[in-house]
Each structure stands twice: as structure tokens, then as C-alpha cells.
Amino acid sequence: MKANPKDVLTGTYYIDGDVACGYGALAAGCKFVAGYPITPSTEAFEAMCRRGPQVGAVFIQMEDELGSMAAVIGAAWSGVKSMTITSGPGYSLMQENIGFGAMVETPFVLLNIQRGGPSTGVPTKTGQADMMQSRWGSHGDYEIIAIAPESPQEMFDYAIKAFNLAEKYRCPVMIMSDECVGHMTEKVVIPEADKIEVEPRRLFKGPAAEYAPYKPDPDLVPKMAKAGDGLKLYITGLVHDERGYPVKNEDYKAAYVRRLIDKIKRNKDKIIEIREEAVDDADVVVVSYGISSRVAIKGVEIARENGIKVGTLRLVTVWPFPDERITELARKVKAFVVPEINYGQIVFDVARCSHGHANVVLVPHGGAGVHNPNDIADAIEYAAKEKKKIQGVVEHKTRLEKLVFEGGYKLKE
């Protein structure tokens, strides 16, 4: 299905990532936004509030993020595409309903413009420390899809993709952006509506008596329905059978939750998007995502000038994780270097998948800023030279870390 021309602001713009994401969501057909303002994601909400009412999208500033997330799921069940926008502290509050959304298989999109944490952290500056929260934040077993764009153009493009994935797999999709990309202003080209592919909702179209909200299609994803169609929906966060009715026994629990996980895992190849460059003859591969992948470009350049064979692998979708590809590369390369703006999150998944075949070097950053490309270059150089196999993850001491920690957790005067 093509996008509705009314929803698409075709043209060339000079806008920031937040606004681009808002325009992307509207182009994808988003008709409901509930949120609570939080730096640094506010611009996205504002863009949608400004443009939304002109294209029939309703927005509401809820009383808190708990309510925002609940309203977004409610709106999805009323039949419209819906999303919310937040950052760290709000994201924590949303976890309860994210689990509910995943459990009752609700398609919705969540934009998280990550900021420095933990807690209030550094609200106006960047971070990438919510990556594991996006995967494991709510209680119980479930799977979601997470995307990490690296530019305003990608914020637009992947906002559309996020909605398409949500509809296709009936699951929450997180756009795990960060303050740098959110507030970065660049050229964004918005194509004509007929060039934008939009996934329609997988609605059930048969006799009401035959509808079971959780009866999966062959790809393990069930057909969606909406309230008000006389289907007598029974939707609950309790473990349920195909009709949606609560069940308590072990085998139903196993079957249901297994399917929730497998509908993403088995469709992994269709979901995962990674960008590789020069990995074939590389000694070291830099694995990165979001803003860190843009900073890494310079680090890789410096290392190449020093004669090191470096390739890059960028995780466009972070969850589900490309396990097989990392394992495959681990057998060929000496080491992976993983720069991320946290003290080690995705790096442990890289280590898990390399099964000890390649060394894994973390270039950490505490947040409120991005890496110094020289640190990434140094880490690549170290990784290329290190001959012995090292168990686990090696943490590269960056210039900033040395500055902070050589004085015994105190900054030098």
C-alpha cells in the first residue's frame, strides 16, 4: 500500500532528527500520539502536534508516561496507528505498558531520544545507555524490535519502517535514537507519497464467530481486530489461549509465550538490517549503532591511514540481534571494536556471539558527549596488534577515562 499524499510533506528540508521522525511517523499514517514532554524528545512531539491536526491525527498530552503508553495501546485497539515519544525517565515509566503491549500483541511505535542517565542524568545531552532496557525493560519474556538511526534522513525513513514492522509483526517497535541524532540538523529529502510503502493493518476479514485474536498465521503473527466491530474482543494481559481467554496451565503458557518470542526470532532475517563495509579482508571490525557509528567513521579513517585493515558493521536494527552474522565474522577477524555511549551493553552481545573466536574491545563513554575518534582509532590499533586471545570483553581506556580515573575518581584540576 502507498502512503496517503495528504500525510506526506514531500520536499527537501533542513530539519533536525526529532522533527524528521515526526514527519516520518505522519507519512506512515500515524493518527494518534500520546506523550508527556521530556527533553530531548520534545521537538518530535511538537512537530507532530503542529502538523498532526491538519492531517487528521489526534494528539494528547497525557498526565504522565504511564498514561501515555496505555492510551497509545488503547488507540491501537481502536483501529489507528499510534505512537509515543519519550526519553530516559519517561521510558522507565512506560515499561509496564510496553510489556502489556507485547503480551496482547499490539502494534505501536515508541521513539526514545536517549539522553545521559541514570535517573535524571544529563537531560540535554546524549547517551546510548537504554539499549538493554529496550530489550529487557518490562518483566517477563517478550521480544521487540529496536532500530537505531544515525541521521535526520534516517529518522524519517526508519520512522516509516518502524510503523511497517509494527504492523507486520504485531509488536512494539522502538526507535532508539539519541540526543545527538535528535538535535542534529541536516538535509532531509521527503519523497512523493507514491514512493513510500506503507504496511496496512492485518485486519481480520471474516465472519465474527470465526475470529480468534491470537490464532497465528503461518508466519506466527495473528490477525488484528479493532474495538467496535462486534467481535466481542476479550483482550487480557493474562496468559491466554487463541480466543484471548485466560489460561493458567503450563503448556498453554509455554506455547503462548514461545510464539511471542518466535514470531520475531523466526522472522529475524526479514527484520534485521545491518550495513557492512570492507569486512571481507578486515582484521578488525568496528560494530556500532546510532550516533557512535558516525563518530566511528573518523576513527576508522585514522586507523586505515596507519595501515590497519578495518571494516565496519553498523547495526541499523539492534534488536533482534544479528547473532549468526557476528559469529560468522568472529571466525574470520582478529577482533571487534565496539564504541558505545555507555559502559558496555551491546558489546556483551557481540562477545556472546563471537564465542571466543575474536577478541572484543569496548570503547566506553559515560554519556553527555560522544567519543573522541582518536580513542576509537587507538582501540582499533590495539585490537589489531593483540596476539593472544582474551576471554570476555576488554575495556579500552579512553583519554577521558584516563583523565577522570588517574586522579582516583576525581577530575584533575
Binding site: 504511564l66 495501546i73 488507540a75 481502536s78 496482547v104
Partner: protein, 261 residues
């Protein structure tokens, strides 16, 4: 719960609203058979989120009638009720007040008057109709589980109110600590003996206290613009013809007998 369900049946019938257009988000588990019988769409939300979930349902499809059925209203999700009232979101909130979280072994709730826990409670309870009225609800009422006819009448009236309505239903629940607290009679008997109908009483005066009679009846019935009304007015004023008012009634909805959208 049974009285509430039978009152819901009667109330919906009386209101003449198409059952397929009714959604019931609730944090209380309903038995699937009951929902099938009621013929509505049901969503069991996380605890306390029924009103917020209902807000999304209503705004996503203004043709729906949304009846959040909530347990103890003011603990989890109290804020959603407060702001729902302020916005005058079109929801009919049924608050089932049984004074005690029965399912988890009789722990007291914020609505509990002193006398229903092992060592009694020392906290001031909420007066829900007063709270609802202050937050801007257009309709508040309270009935016990014995007043099924009156409750049904209230439900049918409230379903046609434009805005947030709140009906508190006093249900039998506090059995656990009856002996310790010297409440000898059956709780329904207690309601029977102590409930006094006082329609149009000022909601400020209807707090439930252990020593006084329980006042039931319809306490608030007023008009205010709903969230969607104000949303449309505000955006039409600024955006003029660039804005299509939200929730424009379709012929299908008109035909379904819903006079309220």
C-alpha cells in the same frame, strides 16, 4: 460483581446504545462468558491503567462508548481519573469499591473507612463522588450492590452524558476482618440497613464514615464541553479550513442509535 453485571445489562439496554460500539477496559478480570453475554469488547489492562487505555480508545475512535470498570480508583491510576475529569474525556467510569483488595488477602485500600482491617485503619478514606465532582466530572453517583435498578438507571443516564461520568458501586468485599472489627452482620445486610438515598446531595457531604449512614444517589449532573469539543474548537479557530473536526459522525454511527457523538 454480579449485581454490577446485571445492572450493566439493564443500563445498556435502557440507553439504547449498540452494544458492539461499547468497549470495557478494566483492571478487574471479568469471566469471558460474562463479556460474551454482554456483547461488548473487553480489555483487561495493567492495574490502574483502564482510564488511560480508555482515553486512547475513545480518541482513536470517537464513535465508541467507553466504560472503564476500575477497582479501587485512587491508588494505581488515580492521576488518570483526576486528569480524565479535568479534560472531560467521554468515559463512564464504574468504580467498584469494596474497601479491601479481596483477592490479595484483605489488604486495606485508600477508600477504606476505619474498621475493616485486622487492627483497623487510621487513614482518612477518599470521598469518590466529591473527588470526581471537584475534578470536573459531569455526572457522579453512588449505589450499593443492592441498588441494581437505580444503578442501571444511572448507567443508562451516564451513557448519554457528554463527558466523564463516575459511578461508585459499593460491593460486598470486606468479609475477612469482620469478626475482629465487630461487624457481625453480613455486609450486604450492613448496606441494606445503612444505605440512605439522598439524590442531589452536595458531594462534599457524602463521605463514608464508620459511624454514619452511607449516602447513595446521584450527586452531580452538569454540562461541560468535552475534550473532543474543546480540541475541535481550538484547532478550528487557529487552523480554520485546514482542520477537519475530529470525531465527525458517520452515517453508520448515527444509524446505530448513538445520539451522543
Amino acid at each position: 460483581m454480579n449485581s454490577l453485571i446485571s445492572a450493566l445489562h439493564k443500563g445498556i439496554d435502557k440507553s439504547g446504545i449498540d452494544r458492539t460500539k461499547i468497549s470495557v477496559p478494566s483492571d478487574i478480570p471479568f469471566v469471558p462468558g460474562v463479556i460474551k453475554e454482554l456483547g461488548v469488547d473487553y480489555f483487561q489492562t495493567p492495574r490502574g491503567r483502564a482510564i488511560a487505555f480508555g482515553t486512547g480508545l475513545k480518541l482513536g475512535n470517537p464513535g465508541l462508548k467507553v466504560i472503564p470498570v476500575v477497582g479501587d480508583l485512587m491508588t494505581l491510576g488515580g492521576n488518570h481519573f483526576v486528569h480524565g475529569g479535568r479534560r472531560n474525556m467521554e468515559l463512564l467510569v464504574l468504580c467498584v469499591n469494596n474497601f479491601i483488595y479481596k483477592k490479595i488477602g484483605g489488604k486495606p485500600t485508600p477508600s477504606m473507612p476505619a474498621a475493616f482491617s485486622p487492627y483497623s485503619t487510621f487513614e482518612e478514606p477518599f470521598n469518590f463522588p466529591h473527588l470526581g465532582n471537584s475534578c470536573g466530572a459531569v455526572y457522579t453517583a453512588r449505589w450499593t450492590a443492592l441498588h441494581t435498578e437505580e444503578l442501571a438507571q444511572s448507567i443508562s443516564e451516564a451513557l448519554h452524558k457528554r463527558g466523564l461520568s463516575m459511578i461508585e458501586v459499593l460491593a460486598p468485599g470486606p468479609d475477612y476482618y469482620r469478626d475482629i472489627n465487630d461487624i457481625e452482620s453480613d455486609i450486604l445486610q450492613f448496606y441494606y440497613e445503612n444505605a440512605v438515598v439522598k439524590n442531589n446531595e452536595d458531594p462534599r457531604n457524602v463521605a463514608i464514615t464508620p459511624d454514619e449512614k452511607i449516602m447513595v444517589g446521584k450527586f452531580t449532573d452538569k454540562e461541560r464541553p468535552t475534550f473532543i469539543d474543546s480540541y475541535n474548537v481550538q484547532h478550528s479557530k487557529i487552523l480554520k479550513d485546514k482542520f477537519t473536526p475530529h470525531g465527525t459522525v458517520s452515517q453508520e454511527q448515527k444509524a446505530s442509535g448513538d445520539k451522543n457523538v
